[in-house]
Amino acid sequence: MTSKTPDIVPFTSPFRGELLSPVQLRSLKQGTLRLLDEVGIHFPSQEALEIFADHRARVDWDGQTVRIPPDLVDRAMSTAPRSFTLGGREERFDLTLDGSCSYLCTDGTGVHVADLETREMRPSCKEDVAMMAQVCDALPLVSFFWPPVSAQDYGTTAPLHQCHAALIHTLKHIRGGMTVAPPLAHYAVEMATVVAGSERQRRRRPPICANICTIAPLAHDDDGLATALTYAEAGIPTSFMAMPTMGSTAPATPLGALVVGDAEVVSGMVLLQLAHPGAPVFHSIIPSLMHPRTGGYIGEVFAPVTMIAVQLAHAWGVPSLGGGSLSTDSATIDWQAGSDGGRGSALVPLIGGEICGYMGLTDSSMVLYPEKVILDHELCRGAYDLLHGFSFDDRDMALDVIAEVGPRGHFLAEQHTRRHIRDFRLSKLLHEHAGDPSPRAPREVAREEFKRIYETHQPRPLEPAVLAELDRILAAAEREAERK
C-alpha cells in the first residue's frame, strides 16, 4: 500500500529585505575580483590548472595557484544560468530556482543519531537516511532532501548509498552528489540517469544535485574539484559551499569573511563554466565565527551576513543555497535549539535564497534527533502563517457580527464564530493537551508524530527494473572501491 506524497509548499514572501545597495554590492564584487586576480586561489588539481591555463588565467604550476583576471571571471560567469530546474520524481516536485520563492531543505550531513527507539547515541547508517527520506516525503515544507546523516555502514561508497537510500524513499529532489573518490562520481550520475529515465531527462530535470565544499581561505579540495567536473559535465547542478570562520580561516569581520567565501565559490563556478559552459551552478556561503575565548565553532551568524550572501549570489547571476536556517549548535533539543529554530524560521521569508532552512540536525549539523525535523517543520509552518502577508475582505471584518454582539457581549454563540473558529491553524505540537488541561511537551508529541508518519507513510516506490538497475550500479561502485 503506498501513500500519496503531498505537494511541496515553497515559501514566497512579500517581506524580503535587501541590505546592500547596488553600489555596495558592486564594490563587494570588486573585492572578490581583486582577490581572484591578485591573490589567487589554490587549485590542487592538474585538470583544473590546465583548464584555467587554456583560458589564459595566470597559473602557478608549482604553487598550484590560479590568478583569474576580472574579464575572464565575468566572461565565464556570463554563461552560468540564473534559473534552472531541480527535478523531482514527478513534475509537481520540481523546484524552479529563479528567486521567486524559497524551497526548504533538510540539514546535512551528520554522523551521530539518537536512536528513535532506544534513544542511545550511535553512529549513523544508511537505514537512518532511508527513514528520514520516508518521513520527509510526507512533510510539505520539505522541498529538497539532503541526506541528513552519513551512511557510515558503507566506507568510501557511503555518499552513493546516501543518494540511493534517498532516491528510493522520497519523490522529492535529492542532494545526492557529494565529494567522493573521483572514480566513483560517475556512479551518482548513473543513478540519476536511471531515475530520470534518460540522459536527456537527467539534464532537463536532474533528480539530484551536488554540493562541494571549498577550503577556507581561498582553496579547493582535489577530489572535490574532480567530482564537481564530473557532475557539471553530466548537467548535475552543483553548488560550491564556502564555510569561512571569522577569526581563524577568514578575517574577523563579516564582510571580510563574505569576500573570502565569495572568492572561493566564484572561482569554483568559473572553473565549471570554463569546462562546461552553461552548466547549472549555485552559490553558497555559510560563514561562522571562532569563539574568541574557546576557539570553538559558532555556526550562528546574524541575518545581515546571510542576507548579503544571498544578495551576492544573485549579483553573480546564479541561485543561492543559503538563507534562514534552523540548524543549531546546541547538542540537543533545548532552549538554544528552540531559539535558533524560532529565529531561523522567521528569517526564511525575510532573507529569501532559493534553497534554505536546514531542518533536522543539532550540534552544528552533527547529530540527528529524528523528531527535530518535525519540530523544525512546525516552526517553519508557523513562520509561513505569520509571514505570508495579511489579506482580508469586508466579510472578514465581521462588522455586522460586532454590531449584533455589541459592547460587553460575547461571540461564543455566534454562527460566525462556529463557522470560522476552526480556520485558525493552531499548532498540534505547541498547543496539544493531555487528558488534563496541562499542555504536553512538544518534543514528545513530535516524536510520536515522527513514528506515526514512519509507520504509515509509504511513498510510491520506483519501478522494479529501476531498483534493480540501482542495485547493479551500487554493486559496480563497490567493486571499484575495493579495487582502489
Binding site: 581561505p217 465581521a398 491553524r425
Partner: protein, 486 residues
C-alpha cells in the same frame, strides 16, 4: 553602600523595514473602526468620562452607558495626539525619545506567581520580587523601561503603589505601570512621579512614569481604569490603552474582525484623553489572543495571532500615535525549547514594522509566572534580533582585502592584528557555548540562572535620595490610610 553604574540602553535600530498592510488596507481597517464607534458605540461606565464624551460631540445614551462617536469627532480628537514624545527616566541618560528611529522594550508585567529565587518553589508574587527584578532589569541594556513584572500581593490594598515604590527604588529607568486602576490610586502615583522628577515642570517634560490601561472586550471600558487614565493625562504622564480581544470569545473568530473590534476600543479611549487634555501623550497597544477551539484556553502565541502584533504597530502609526507592541510572551510553562521558539518572531516582525515600544520580557505561562532567569534568556534573543535587523559595517577596514592578501590561500588569520582588533567586537551569545571542564557545553538555562544571581548580588543602581525616600514613605502611608492596609 556604593552604587553601580547602570549600563547604557541598547535599543533596536532597524536598518530596513517591512510593511504588512497596504495603505488601502489600513484605510479600510480605520474606516471600519470609525463605523463601529459611530454605529455600535462603546460601553463607558464612568460618568466623568461620559460627560467629557458628551461635551465634545459624542452621542451618549446614559441609561445603557453607550457612547457613539461620529467620525469627525474621532478624527478631530485624535489629531491632537502627538506621534513623538519623551518617556523620561530618573536619570536623563536613560530617557527614551520616541522619534520613530528606535524600538525600546520592557519587561512583561503583573504576573501573579513567582518561582522563588532561593527555594525554586512556586508561590504567590510579592513586592520584593518586583524590587529584585527591577534591579535585574536596570542592569540589562535590553530593557528600555520597566513594567513592575509581578503583582505586590503582600500589599493587597495598595499593591500598585508598592509596585511603583519597588520599581523606582531599584531602577533609574522609566517605569510603566499596568495596575493603577482607579482615580485615587492614580493621584498617589502622580505624586510619586513628581517626587522622582523633582518638580511638575520636569514631570511633564520628561515623565518618569507612564500608565497602561486595558480595555474590556468587546467594546467596553473599565470605570476605574479610564478615570485613572484621565488623572495621568492631566499630569502630562503618557497613557496607553491595550485591547486583548480574544478571537472567538470576546472578538469575532476572524483576524480582521478581531483587529477592528480591538482597534475601536483603543481609539475610543485615546479619543477621551484627547478630548479632556488635547495633546496629552497617548499610545496604542493591540495584543489580541485566540481562543483554543477545543479547550477554550487563551493562546497568546498562536502564529496567526502574532501577525496581529505587527498589524497593531501599523495601525497605531496610521492613527498618528506610538505603539506598545506585543513581544516575547509564551504559552509554555517553563523556559525551554517552546518558550525560546516562540520568543523571537514577534520581536523580529514588530521591529521591522517600526515599533516604538514593546513589552513582554521575563514571564512564562501566558504572562503569569515569573522565572527569574527568563529575562536573561529573553535578553539573549533580544540582542540576536537587535543585530539581525541592524546593518553591517561595509568599510574597507571591514572588507580586509589587504589582510586576506597577506594571509593568502591555505593560510590562517589567527595571528593577524586585524583579527585581534576585530574578534572581540563580534557579538554572540554569552549564554550558549559556555564550556564545562570536560569540554561539553553548559545548559544555557543554568548559565542564565547564574547570571541572574550575579546581577542580584552585585548590581546596586543609584538609589532614590533620602528626601525622595521620605516622600515615598509619606505617600504610601497616606495611601494606606485612605485605602486600607496601614
Amino acid at each position: 553602600m556604593r552604587h553601580s553604574e547602570t549600563p547604557q540602553l541598547e535599543p533596536i535600530r532597524p536598518s530596513y523595514h517591512v510593511t504588512i498592510l497596504r495603505d488601502d488596507q489600513l484605510e479600510r481597517l480605520k474606516s471600519a473602526t470609525l463605523d463601529i464607534l459611530a454605529q455600535v458605540g462603546i460601553n463607558c461606565p464612568s460618568e466623568k468620562a461620559v460627560d467629557i464624551y458628551a461635551e465634545h460631540g459624542a452621542q451618549v445614551d446614559r441609561g445603557s452607558q453607550i457612547v457613539r462617536l461620529p467620525p469627525d469627532v474621532v478624527l478631530d480628537a485624535i489629531s491632537h495626539a502627538p506621534r513623538f514624545y519623551t518617556m523620561g527616566a530618573r536619570l536623563p541618560a536613560f530617557d527614551i525619545e520616541l522619534d520613530g528611529s528606535a524600538f525600546y522594550c520592557a519587561t512583561d508585567g503583573c504576573g501573579v506567581e513567582t518561582i522563588d529565587f532561593e527555594t525554586r518553589q512556586r508561590r504567590a508574587s510579592i513586592k520584593d520580587d518586583v524590587a529584585r527584578m527591577a534591579r535585574v532589569a536596570d542592569y540589562l541594556s535590553s530593557v528600555g523601561f520597566y513594567w513592575p513584572i509581578v503583582s505586590a500581593q503582600d500589599h493587597p490594598h495598595t499593591a500598585p503603589l508598592h509596585e511603583l515604590d519597588a520599581s523606582f527604588s531599584n531602577t533609574v529607568k522609566h517605569v510603566q505601570t499596568e495596575t493603577v486602576m482607579d482615580e485615587a490610586m492614580a493621584r498617589y502615583a502622580v505624586e510619586m512621579a513628581t517626587v522622582v522628577a523633582g518638580d511638575e515642570e520636569t514631570r511633564r517634560a520628561r515623565p518618569p512614569l507612564s500608565s497602561l490601561v486595558c480595555t474590556i472586550a468587546p467594546l467596553a471600558q473599565d470605570k476605574g481604569g479610564m478615570e485613572s487614565a484621565l488623572v495621568f493625562a492631566e499630569a502630562g504622564l503618557p497613557v496607553g490603552f491595550m485591547s486583548m480581544a480574544n478571537a472567538g470569545s470576546t472578538a469575532p473568530a476572524t483576524l480582521a474582525g478581531t483587529v477592528v473590534a480591538a482597534d475601536a476600543e483603543i481609539v475610543a479611549a485615546m479619543v477621551l484623553i484627547q478630548m479632556a487634555h488635547p495633546g496629552a501623550p497617548v499610545y496604542h497597544s493591540l495584543m489580541p489572543g485566540i481562543m483554543h477551539p477545543r479547550t477554550g484556553g487563551y493562546l497568546g502565541t498562536a502564529w496567526e495571532g502574532e501577525l496581529l502584533y505587527a498589524v497593531g504597530v501599523e495601525l497605531a502609526h496610521a492613527w498618528g500615535v506610538p505603539t506598545l507592541a506585543g513581544i516575547f510572551g509564551t504559552d509554555a510553562q517553563v523556559p525551554g525549547w517552546q518558550q525560546a521558539a516562540e520568543a523571537g518572531s514577534s520581536l523580529l516582525l514588530t521591529a521591522l514594522c517600526g515599533a516604538d515600544t514593546g513589552s513582554g520580557m521575563g514571564l512564562v505561562e501566558s504572562c503569569t509566572l515569573l522565572h527569574p532567569e527568563a529575562i536573561i534568556l529573553d535578553t539573549d534573543i533580544y540582542h540576536r534580533v537587535r543585530i539581525d535587523v541592524a546593518g553591517l559595517d561595509t568599510s574597507p577596514e571591514a572588507l580586509a582585502l589587504d589582510v586576506i592578501r597577506d594571509v593568502g590561500p591555505r593560510g590562517h588569520f589567527l595571528r593577524e592584528r586585524h583579527t585581534r582588533d576585530h574578534v572581540r567586537q563580534r557579538e554572540f551569545s554569552d549564554l550558549v557555548a559556555q564550556p564545562r571542564p570536560d569540554g561539553s557545553y553548559r545548559d544555557p538555562i543554568d548559565v542564565a540562572r547564574e547570571k541572574t544571581n550575579a546581577i542580584l548580588e552585585n548590581h546596586r543602581p543609584q538609589p532614590l535620595d533620602d528626601a525622595q525616600r521620605a516622600e515615598f514613605e509619606r505617600i504610601l502611608d497616606a495611601a494606606e490610610g485612605e485605602m486600607g492596609g496601614a
